[in-house]
């Protein structure tokens, strides 16, 4: 009897921790991470300011670069007789020809200590993705002074 009591006392002094709830929570966390990382990608920002925001001060010495985007997705630079066709492949996101023009223009503006200015005319039936492609090319060269023109829209 005395031996039995001694054995019981030793068993009670080493209680086992129940870790089942801990494992439950760990699995819950794991599942949550897997689901959120694959289903909901994070959105990012492409910013621009409308003309009203950049009004005031001296007029810039540098001519703004005019970009037009047609409903077919073809991108043009310039206006009138000097208008040049740039990228026309609708599935191409990088717009290499426009990027080359923007690189040249932003380098020239920076060399003259001027802020590069861009005006964009977009045909009303152009898809949103194509306009974003152009804004994406501008963001690559840190061109923030962007305005949308409504020359032929109304």
């Amino acid at each position: 009897m005395a031996r039995h009591k001694k054995y019981e006392s030793i068993e009670d002094s080493n209680p086992a921790l129940d870790i089942s709830s801990l494992i439950d929570v760990c699995f819950l966390l794991l599942i949550y991470f897997i689901v959120t990382s694959t289903i909901t990608p994070r959105e990012t920002d492409l910013m621009m300011a409308l003309p009203g925001e950049s009004e005031g001060g001296d007029p810039p010495d540098i001519d703004p670069m005019l970009i037009s985007v047609e409903s077919s997705g073809t991108v043009y630079v310039g206006a009138g007789p000097s208008r040049q066709q740039m990228d026309s492949k609708i599935d191409e996101r990088n717009l290499p020809l426009l990027s080359a023009q923007l690189d040249l223009y932003s380098s020239t503006a920076n060399a003259a200590n001027e802020t590069p200015l861009v005006q964009i005319f977009v045909n009303e039936d152009t898809k949103q993705q194509r306009v974003i492609d152009v804004l994406n090319a501008l963001a690559k060269y840190k061109i923030n002074s962007v305005t949308f023109t409504d020359l032929l829209d109304d």
Binding site: R42, E43, D45, L46, G52, E53, V122, Q129, F148
Partner: protein, 150 residues
Amino acid sequence: MSDSKLRRASSEADEDMPMDMSPMIDMVFLLLIFFIVNATAIIVKTDPKVKPPIAKNAEPQKNADGRIVVNIHDDGQFTAEDFKTYLADDKAIAAYVKKQKQRHEKEAVDSKLHIRGHKDAVFKHARKAIRAAAGEGVNNVVFAVYNKEL
């Protein structure tokens, strides 16, 4: 006699041994911190019907302050941030922008139009929203995009 009393008292104490809650509390705090961080990482509510375009040079969303969210569906319908309130026309968009702007002014925050346009929507709808916002004095525009192909 006193020895047996002591043994009985010790046995009762063993039976009422409290469970160690510290790992559980640790995990609960971990969960709480994770949810808080995750909740701030998702800046605006996203309408699942709108699939934004892709732009690799876009910047990560830093804060939600002053954003006036307008969702543009591929069929040209506009919805507010809760994606349940439909904005029928220019006037409805302008009224929505005005109301949100007034709310931001009370919080001393600059307003900006946050356009979540579907990649296949035509641009005239985005222009309509930009014009309506400009009419209410909101000149900063943010286009919501993904920075990688899904």
